[in-house]
């Protein structure tokens, strides 16, 4: 199994993501590592107990954009829904979406870490 195959198994559209990097797989992998770092660095900002809504939305919004550009679809879709609910003041529903998405996000992070 390779990183690409494993990520594909987790729902990442690696073909399209790779194409967006001009077919340069090492660059794509480097970008995935950066996304992984970004998600991990933002985890504290996504803590509902410590941060206000605006800060949480800002952090989630940034992950949403970056994961979308790299075609890490499950993360992109999860954060898209999360941001939408947060903006609509539906905090409890947003939390549920976030918790539902967390296992796949963690699996993707672990997978990237395993190969980097």
């Amino acid at each position: 199994m390779s990183l690409m195959q494993e990520l594909k198994g987790l729902g990442v559209d690696t073909d399209e993501g790779l194409q967006r990097m001009g077919g340069n797989s090492s660059l794509y992998e480097r970008m995935l590592v950066k996304l992984k770092d970004m998600i991990k660095d933002s985890s504290a900002r996504l803590d509902f107990d410590c941060n206000d809504h605006a800060d949480i939305i800002e952090a989630a919004h940034a992950i949403k954009g970056a994961s979308g550009n790299l075609m890490v679809t499950p993360v992109y879709e999860g954060y898209s829904e999360f941001v939408k609910l947060m903006r609509g003041q539906q905090t409890e529903e947003a939390k549920k979406v976030f918790e539902k998405m967390l296992p796949v996000q963690n699996a993707i992070i672990e997978c990237i870490e395993k190969y980097s």
Partner: protein, 365 residues
């Protein structure tokens, strides 16, 4: 070697900046900013080289819209196209971005090929616009220079033509110069104190130039009348009066339709002996029937005639000339023109002094 042009990518997510860098780094120098404050600093330092700004809407420090506000203040928005990058497509954000001057909006996630094509199209459009504006500015400047040259040439020809008449009257040519100077002084007062006439500087310039031709018709008057040192007989005076209409006949041969300058020349030539009460010639116009430029040249011509030596009379002192005009000894002028004449008295007097000094000193040589 041609210098690479610069693209500034402003986005707080490194991944997004990297993707944009990847798209453009072969053809462009890339600058990156990770927040709004850094974007502003980079614009400040590199605005002359930057040909495109990718601007994330949501950034720490300053938002994308705040960066665009700064670009408006600095005028950079006119020379640097901005592509706004946003994660959410809402009509409100889109409208705002365009109102702030964005050239385009790209939604995340974006397709690199589409971004590349749209960015290049926008850069080409902007470059073409700036190129057209530069060329237009250059051509406008060249036109202004050419027009000024043409105006100078015209003025020279008008002065030369009017001097012919004066030399024939055995005068020095200074009368025309003084009439022009006095006309400008009085017209400036009219423009300032009587806005109801709607006079503007460009118009006054033409009127001043046209005033030089007020006596062009005297070229048609026989020497026996024009140079007569004594008082003219009634029939001789009737003949002399024809210089107004004869002048117009000369001008009509060179008629320029729709030309303001021609209109001023014609009106001044024909009506500069009309009087406000209708007792002037050749048409006996009354009051404001007489164009204001003809009214102004009329009083100026009288004033200069009084303070100058002529074949048939000595020069009057300035105060005496002013008194004679006030007392209506030279005909009736409009109250508005008289009011401005009084206001301009000091300026006219000083100009007379300078003109006399120049004339006397020129005569000495």
């Amino acid at each position: 070697m041609e210098e690479k042009r610069t693209i500034l990518i402003a986005d707080d997510a490194e991944v997004n900046r990297e993707i944009l860098r990847l798209i453009f780094e072969e053809q462009f120098e890339i600058l990156e900013a990770e927040d709004g404050e850094q974007t502003v600093r980079m614009l400040e330092d590199n605005h002359e080289e930057i040909v495109m700004l990718f601007l994330d809407l949501m950034m720490p420090g300053k938002t994308g819209l705040e960066v665009m506000e700064y670009m408006h203040k600095k005028g950079y928005i006119n020379t640097i196209p901005v592509i706004m990058i946003t994660g959410e497509a809402t009509a409100e954000t889109d409208v705002k971005a365009y109102e702030y001057g964005a050239s385009d909006i790209i939604y995340k996630p974006f397709n690199p090929k589409v971004v590349m094509r749209r960015a290049i199209n926008i850069m080409e459009l902007f470059e073409n616009r700036i190129d057209i504006e530069t060329k237009l500015k250059e051509r406008t400047e060249a036109l202004v220079v050419a027009q000024k040259k043409l105006e100078k040439n015209n003025e020279f020809l008008v002065n030369a033509l009017s001097s012919v008449v004066e030399f024939r009257s055995l005068e020095s040519g200074e009368h025309i110069k003084r009439v022009k100077r006095f006309t400008r002084i009085l017209m400036n007062y009219m423009m300032k104190y009587h806005p109801e006439y709607g006079l503007v500087k460009e118009q006054v310039d033409l009127i001043v130039n046209a005033s030089a031709l007020h006596d062009i018709g005297k070229i048609t008057i026989p020497d026996s009348i024009l140079l007569k040192p004594a008082k003219l007989t009634v029939s001789e005076f009737e003949e002399m009066k024809k210089h107004t209409t004869n002048g117009c006949e000369i001008l009509e041969k060179f008629k320029q339709d729709e030309s303001d300058f021609y209109r001023y020349c014609y009106d001044i030539c024909r009506y500069h002996h009309e009087r406000y009460d209708g007792n002037g010639y050749p048409d006996g116009l009354v009051g404001e029937e007489i164009p204001i430029w003809a009214q102004v040249v009329s009083i100026v011509d009288v004033y200069d005639a009084l303070i100058s030596k002529r074949v048939y009379k000595m020069a009057y002192a300035v105060d005496e000339a002013v008194r004679m005009i006030h007392d209506g000894e030279c005909g009736v002028f409009s109250p508005k023109v008289m009011e401005c004449f009084d206001l301009a008295k000091e300026d006219l007097f000083q100009t007379t002094e300078v003109a006399s000094f120049v004339e006397n000193n020129t005569d000495a040589f």
